[in-house]
């Protein structure tokens, strides 16, 4: 039998080791840069041009990651995970470069303040993104479902139909479940979750509804209790879907903001660069 020729084998490595190695490299580079900046300042050379150009280069490089994602088929530009590592550590290094650039003082002009604010927003949103992309996946994995974001509304609608059908089954025998459905569950199944939930999803509504369904048991016959148990399952499934929607959605919104602000930052930074060169004569 032809033995498939595997092109790549997984390398033996640990994330923790990679983290330590990359952090050390970043710190060494920052240390070297601080020595250069110190030496320039001691020699009465304006180090802000050095740090400014370096910062601009870093920001352009960081922004290029999005471009890299679009060109998936060229081998020579490196894999996305390699770029991601560079993106993280170059991004973290820019905090120090930015500090050197503004000489660790708050900028005093309105334009500079805008630029600094934009930079910090983009950089801090990047830090948040790092946190979110490392924490959210495990939270999502803990759920039973693994839906694709774009299909979540479809699954939500399907659950709503299932819930309605279940309750209709019991209408002839009792109106307890029907009333409960119209008063409490209809809104849960048929409407999207509140903005507050999307911002900070919690299991409060889920717990509340399940408790209320269980409390109805004493008014139900055995076969109706079976329906109420199935309803409980549907509530759990719907809540899991909502949780997915909230967390996956937050990751998407975060990326949209992070990338969108990056373009604004690039434009303002280029303007700043032009202005700095236009007015640098007086400073020399």
């Amino acid at each position: 039998m032809t033995q498939p020729n595997l092109k790549s084998k997984p390398r033996r490595f640990r994330f923790s080791k990679r983290r330590i190695r990359n952090s050390i490299i970043t710190l060494v580079i920052i240390a070297i840069l601080s020595v250069i900046v110190y030496a320039q300042n001691q020699s009465l050379i304006h180090s802000s041009f050095t740090t400014g150009y370096l910062l601009m280069t870093c920001i352009v490089f960081l922004a290029a990651f999005n471009l890299r994602k679009k060109i998936t088929f060229l081998p020579a530009i490196g894999s996305a995970k390699f770029w991601m590592q560079l993106h993280i550590y170059v991004g973290l290094a820019t905090f120090a470069i930015f500090g050197f650039h503004i000489a660790w003082h708050v900028p005093n002009g309105a334009f500079e303040l805008l630029l600094a604010g934009l930079y910090l927003t983009v950089a801090l949103s990047g830090v948040y993104g790092l946190y979110a992309t490392r924490i959210f996946p495990a939270k999502l994995t803990g759920l039973n479902e693994e839906p694709i974001f774009e299909r979540i509304p479809f699954f939500q609608q399907r659950l709503a139909v299932q819930a309605r059908k279940l309750v209709l089954q019991t209408c002839e025998a009792t109106d307890v479940l029907a009333n409960f459905y119209s008063n409490r569950l209809a809104a849960f199944f048929e409407r999207p979750r509140s903005l507050a939930y999307l911002v900070r999803p919690t299991g409060r509504v889920r717990r509340q509804l399940i408790t209320e369904i269980e409390d109805l048991d004493r008014f139900l016959a055995e076969d109706q209790r079976q329906v109420s148990r199935e309803l409980t399952q549907l509530v759990k499934q719907r809540d899991d879907l909502d949780y997915h929607y909230a967390l996956q959605g937050r990751l998407k919104v975060w990326l949209f903001i992070h990338i969108g602000l990056t373009y604004s930052l690039l434009i303002v930074a280029v303007l700043h660069m032009i202005l700095a060169h236009a007015f640098d004569g007086g400073l020399q």
Partner: protein, 557 residues
């Protein structure tokens, strides 16, 4: 086949010399011929089997002549995807040249490539689609072939061992063939000594010696020793060759029932009767644990079982039984070197340092001492191992696995796949999960590619260099044989459209044309699988699961 045809067959060799009484009542000779065989009437030039195809049947020439090509035929003639890599410019141009429609095909633009396939044509009859060579000598030069005549059998080794056909065979005249399915052929071999000897000798002559030399423990043995071993080696098969057909229903069974229903190759606690070499397929190593069986590992092609027990018994004179059970997952072909032969021919010729350590002592005190000294081997998570074996993912050589604890569900992998396949993704980021591992619905490029059996045009084939299984879109006729055979549902049938988005229809029937599509490992792209390269979070990998080493390393990052 009709009773008359069966009766006629029973008058010719090798069936004439078979004794009907030698067959069981449940599967009589008449039944084998009627249910496991079919007659094929071919015209001159019809391709019977292609080099590299996987098949499940052998052929007996009843009338006419078949030509076995001694040289490999061009990929276009065999219906294969030529798999040419895109250049840099072509790769970059995908950014703006990819279609905006779904499953768009433009065969007019590829006319120059299609014209290269002018050596072959196709025709249909009641037995299916036949691809034929217009001019045999133009494709298979005189002197580069061997003619087979009436009464000769071919294709049996490939059918019995699930290995690719070693040569292309073409009908050289109007030819009548008897196609015998592997089940029937195995039954015939079991009941007919001459046929069994013929096939076993063929295998001994062609493959066995090379196979034995590939086994690490037998490397370095002299030519004579290998010769003697090959004479004494026993061939055995376990399980169902067409496991994929029962796979869906098997999955629903209770795990204990599933394990117990797997044919036992070696039973824990029983006499060690030889060294077992896995020739094809996969076997589960399990240990009795409580009322059930715990999977310890799985063995694939080329791996051995029983060496430690054999060495221990030979060195100490004890008779320790099998420590674990070995069961067939799906189907397994094994070679068994009997204990006596192994002890007399192999063990004295292996230097002592190369032999495995003796088994732990049965004395509890000695055992503790041994355990302290023994190095702990890195092993896979037991649950993950059970999951991979249960779902038969161990068949995949390029399985797509996602670590859900790192996957942000950004779908960059799917977008990358789409961008390299004319905006049509070739996998779904969905699939079976265990803990935080997902095996996605992407072609795994299986070691045992059941999808490749029965393709009438040879459109689905394994690339000899990369090992990836690809479908040639131009020669695929949309019969869905591969899609129906894939036990993992990783081949999708799609309706194709023209540039304006309208379905391309068959001129004769007016029905939309279907094509089989699946992951091709970005065989035509410069950088290899785009999905893996596009994942920024190190969450996705294409991994070889046929041996547990890679997944053990990857899962312990």
């Amino acid at each position: 086949m009709s009773d008359q045809e069966v009766a006629a067959l029973q008058k010719i060799e090798p069936f004439a010399s078979m004794t009907p009484d030698a067959f069981s009542k449940a599967i009589p000779l008449h039944g084998v011929l009627q249910n496991d065989c079919r007659l094929l009437d071919l015209k001159k030039g019809d391709i019977i089997v292609r080099e590299g195809d996987y098949g499940s049947s052998a052929f007996l020439i009843l009338e006419g002549e078949a030509l076995v090509s001694l040289q490999s035929l061009p990929a276009e003639v065999l219906g294969r995807d030529t798999g040419r890599k895109k250049g840099w410019l072509a790769a970059v141009s995908q950014l703006w040249r990819n279609s905006t429609g779904v499953e768009t095909r433009n065969y007019d633009a590829n006319r120059s490539e299609v014209s290269k396939i002018q050596d072959v044509g196709s025709r249909e009859d009641e037995t299916g689609t036949h691809i034929f060579l217009h001019d045999i000598p133009a494709v298979i030069p005189v002197g580069k072939s061997v003619a087979l005549g009436a009464g000769e059998i071919f294709g049996e080794i490939s059918a019995l061992t699930r290995t690719p056909r070693s040569a292309t065979v073409v009908a050289n005249a109007p030819t009548r063939l008897l196609e015998i399915r592997w089940q029937g052929f195995r039954e015939l071999m079991k009941r007919h000594e001459a046929l069994r000897t013929h096939v076993e000798n063929l295998y001994r002559e062609n493959s066995l010696r090379a196979h034995l030399r590939e086994i690490p423990v037998l490397k370095g043995l002299s030519h004579d020793t290998i010769e003697k071993l090959s004479e004494l080696t026993i061939f055995e098969s376990f399980g169902d060759f067409q496991w994929n057909r029962k796979f869906t229903s098997t999955k629903k069974k209770d795990i204990l029932d599933r394990i117990l229903s797997e044919p036992t190759i070696a039973q824990q606690g029983e006499y060690v009767d030889g060294l077992i070499l896995i020739r094809n397929g996969f076997a589960r190593l399990s240990r009795e644990h409580g009322d059930g069986h715990q999977t310890i590992a799985y063995l694939g092609k080329g791996e051995t079982f029983g060496l430690r027990e054999l060495v221990h018994n030979w060195q100490t004179g004890e008779q320790r039984p099998w420590l674990l059970s070995l069961r067939a997952v799906g189907y397994v072909d094994i070679l068994r070197i009997p204990t006596l032969a192994f002890e007399s021919l192999v063990l004295p010729n292996i230097p002592k340092p190369k032999l495995p350590a003796p088994l732990p002592s049965l004395d509890p005190k000695q055992r503790q001492k041994h355990q302290r000294r023994a190095e702990r081997q890195e092993s896979m998570d037991k649950g993950l191992l059970e999951f991979l074996v249960e779902k038969r993912f161990i068949n995949g050589t390029q399985t797509m696995m996602i670590d859900l604890d790192r996957c942000t569900r950004c779908d960059d992998c799917v977008r990358a796949c789409a961008s390299t396949h004319d905006n049509n993704p070739r996998f779904k980021r969905q699939g079976d999960t265990y803990d935080h591992w997902m095996v996605t619905n992407a072609c795994m490029h299986c070691l045992d590619p059941v999808c490749m059996i029965g393709c009438p045009t040879g459109a689905i084939a394994r690339d000899q260099e990369s090992g990836s299984v690809t479908i040639n879109d131009k020669t695929c006729i949309g019969c869905a044989t591969c899609s129906n055979s894939c036990p993992y549902n990783n081949i999708q049938m799609v309706e194709i459209n023209d540039d304006s988005g309208l379905p391309i229809v068959d001129i004769d029937t007016g029905k939309p044309i279907n094509k089989a599509t699946k992951c091709d490992l970005c065989v035509d792209q410069l950088g290899g699988p785009a999905c893996q390269r596009a994942c920024p979070h190190d969450a996705l990998v294409r991994i070889d699961l046929t041996a547990p080493d890679d997944i053990t390393i990857w899962s312990k990052r």
